[in-house]
């Protein structure tokens, strides 16, 4: 097991390297460099920028050097100084911009993941055990709708519904008086009151997907002979279900935890744009629209790295949960 974990960790290094190259290509893709765009922007808004300032930026980002030197400079800044570059649109370091929003994104995503798993898996289990019951039919129906409805549409519907029926305008993560207020207990409580809207919107498709997957997995397992064997042993129905088929049916889902992260991230982006939430998603979209390539690149890099780490976590969890994987990969005990 330890050997397996170490090997998986080591394999992360080349993957992260490849990811950084892809992100760097994205940063370099737009014609000209961002500095040109930046100077153009400043000129069009009537602000003059000094030659020294331009020269300093050129030097800092090695813009006069060949491609591979630029890459090395960029990655060195990130690894050694935690400097992801500068957002020219906001005229601030990328790190600062991300820091502000990452906590909110994390909170919303975390809530969503917990919802997706707890609700999705438990409904899936119940649906499979009571196959073809009323409950199963209802949640199969809801599940199909949940899988097919796009998050942004659901967000718009909820906003419209709340506004027309209850005269509440659900937008933003904070009430008016808290938007610019410093963090306090009252502000957190205010946020918790509003956070369920984006969480539900983001979680719906995940919950629906998990219901479908869990139901299908469990139905497959329930037909296996070891279930009958356990029953013939004299185990009670509940203990038997938890110990055997459910335990095994969850395994394939563990292997997909890694994919949940990017899915939640993109779902969060759409919902946040519509609900006007100060999270990472809208920031990325604006950065892409404005060709703010350092900001966009950094966000893609962070998301990519998170996905890789997520996959790593799910692989390790799976090896821990399923002896067939643990033993198959290390060739012994």
């Amino acid at each position: 097991m330890a050997g397996y974990v170490i090997r998986r960790f080591l394999s992360l290094i080349p993957l992260l390297f490849i990811l950084s190259i892809v992100v760097f290509i994205i940063i370099e893709l737009p014609p000209g460099d961002f500095l040109t765009v930046y100077i153009e922007q400043l000129k069009s808004s009537g602000v003059l920028i000094s030659e020294e300032e331009i020269a300093r930026l050129v030097k800092q980002y090695a813009l006069d050097k060949p491609l591979h030197i630029r890459y090395i400079t960029w990655i060195k800044n990130i690894i050694l100084h935690g400097d992801f570059g500068r957002s020219f649109r906001w005229n601030r370091p990328v790190v600062e911009l991300i820091k502000e929003r990452v906590a909110l994104s994390a909170v919303i995503s975390l809530f969503s993941i917990v919802f997706v798993w707890i609700i999705g898996v438990s409904i899936g289990i119940y649906s499979a055990v009571k196959q073809y019951s009323m409950f199963d039919y209802i949640f199969t129906f809801i599940g199909f709708i949940g899988v097919s409805i796009p998050g942004f549409l659901l967000a718009l519907l909820i906003i419209w519904f709340a506004y027309t029926k209850f005269d509440i305008y659900i937008s933003g993560l904070f009430s008016q008086q808290f938007v610019d207020a410093p963090w306090s207990l009252a502000k957190v409580l205010d946020m918790l009151k509003r956070i369920w809207v984006p969480v539900i919107i983001i979680a719906v498709s995940g919950i629906a997907g998990n219901i479908r997957t869990m139901r299908a997995n469990l139905l497959d397992e329930l037909r296996k002979q070891y279930v009958t064997v356990a029953r013939a042993k004299g185990l009670s129905e509940t203990r038997l279900l938890i110990k055997y088929p459910i335990r095994i049916a969850v395994n394939p889902m563990i292997s997909t935890i890694g994919w949940t992260l990017p899915a939640i991230f993109s779902g969060e982006s759409l919902a946040s744009i519509i609900l006007n939430l100060p999270t990472i998603g809208p920031l990325l979209m604006q950065a892409l629209l404005a060709q703010d390539m350092y900001l966009a690149g950094s966000l893609i890099l962070i998301m990519g790295a998170l996905t890789l780490v997520g996959t790593l976590i799910s692989d390790i969890l799976l090896a821990w949960a399923d002896p067939r994987i643990r033993y198959g990969n290390t060739g012994g005990k």
Partner: protein
């Protein structure tokens, strides 16, 4: 004989209610299993032999239901009708695995892949015996040794996928006998195994049976296995027992055309075979549309028109204990 009966099945009917129609998997079956004896049930796939066994333990698949009949289990302190018990209730669960245990056909899938065999055997022991975990583990190791698994103190911590098919079936048997059952149901215990391993497993079951004095209900489609193991035999065809009796009677004096045909289709060592091996004409009929009258009549070489397709043949006792359901022997 009367006092020696362990299990008596009377007019058992187990039907499956499916969207396509009703499948009468077991349709009026009667038999008795005596203490310490081996009762063999033989028949083609789909004849209802496994469903009969699952009816006894009340572990039928979804949509399967016992619609009629009694399954009386005789204990020292009285008898109980298993059909009347709640299939999820405590009473039947106390019988399962403790008094009536079962060995299944597919040792590959019968053990859950994510737990060690020791874990699964210990679970059965803790369920039915008043022992601590450490004691249960000792019992499990001892059992694994008794069923012929080498180095049981190591293998107890092995996962099923680390063992061969024969070893897994031995582990299954160890689990089944863990609480000294009075009846062991073996549902095609050797079908999925190599021929050499088959003989070993059958010997093992035979020896354990002798040691522990338990009765065995052996379900198979293999006449050879029956000849080697059984004391009494029931031949099943499409949910009914067509012929039953002591093993020698069935093999040396078969009466029902189906039994005769089954015995003819076994190749015999030392006997010259002219041309092809004999087989039974036709196919097993569609379970949703069973033939009228005697269910074997469309394939029967002795079919009498106007009789066999009109009414079901009654059961006739030819000699003591040898019963056959066929119009050739009366009942017209």
């Amino acid at each position: 004989m009367g006092d020696n009966v362990l299990l008596e099945v009377k007019n058992l009917r187990t039907y499956f209610f499916l969207d396509e129609g009703v499948v009468k998997a077991v349709d009026g079956v009667n038999f008795k299993i005596e203490k310490g004896k081996t009762f063999g049930v033989v028949g083609e796939s789909g004849c209802g032999k496994s469903i009969t066994a699952q009816s006894i333990l009340r572990i039928l698949p979804p949509r399967g239901e016992i619609v009629e009949g009694e399954i009386i289990f005789y204990r020292d302190d009285g008898s109980v009708d298993l059909v009347k018990l709640d299939p999820k209730g405590q009473e039947i669960r106390d019988i399962r695995g403790k008094e009536v245990a079962m060995v299944f056909q597919e040792p590959m899938t019968a053990l859950a892949p994510v737990y060690t065999i020791g874990d699964q055997i210990i679970e059965a022991i803790l369920l039915h015996q008043n022992v601590t975990k450490e004691q249960a583990r000792k019992i499990a190791i001892d059992l694994l040794g008794r069923v012929g698994i080498p180095k049981p103190e190591e293998r107890v911590d092995a996962y099923p996928f680390e063992l061969s098919g024969g070893m897994r079936q031995r582990a299954m048997i160890a689990m089944a006998i863990s609480s000294n059952p009075s009846l062991l149901i073996a549902d095609e215990p050797t079908t999925a195994l190599d021929v050499t391993i088959q003989a070993q497993i059958l010997d093992l079951i035979k020896n354990l049976q002798k040691e522990m004095g338990m009765a065995t209900m052996l379900i198979t489609h293999n006449m050879g296995v029956i000849a080697e193991m059984a004391d009494d035999v029931a031949v099943m065809y499409l949910g009914k027992i067509v012929e039953s009796g002591p093993v020698n009677e069935i093999f040396y004096n078969p009466k029902h055309p189906y039994t005769v045909a089954l015995l003819k289709s076994i190749p015999k060592v030392g006997k010259k075979v002219k041309g092809r091996l004999e087989s039974i004409e036709g196919m097993v009929p569609d379970p949703y549309n069973l033939p009228t009258g005697c269910r074997f009549h469309p394939r029967c070489p002795s079919y009498v028109e106007g009789t066999c397709d009109k009414a079901e043949p009654p059961e006739i006792e030819i000699t003591t204990g040898h019963k056959v359901s066929c119009f050739l022997y009366g009942g017209r």
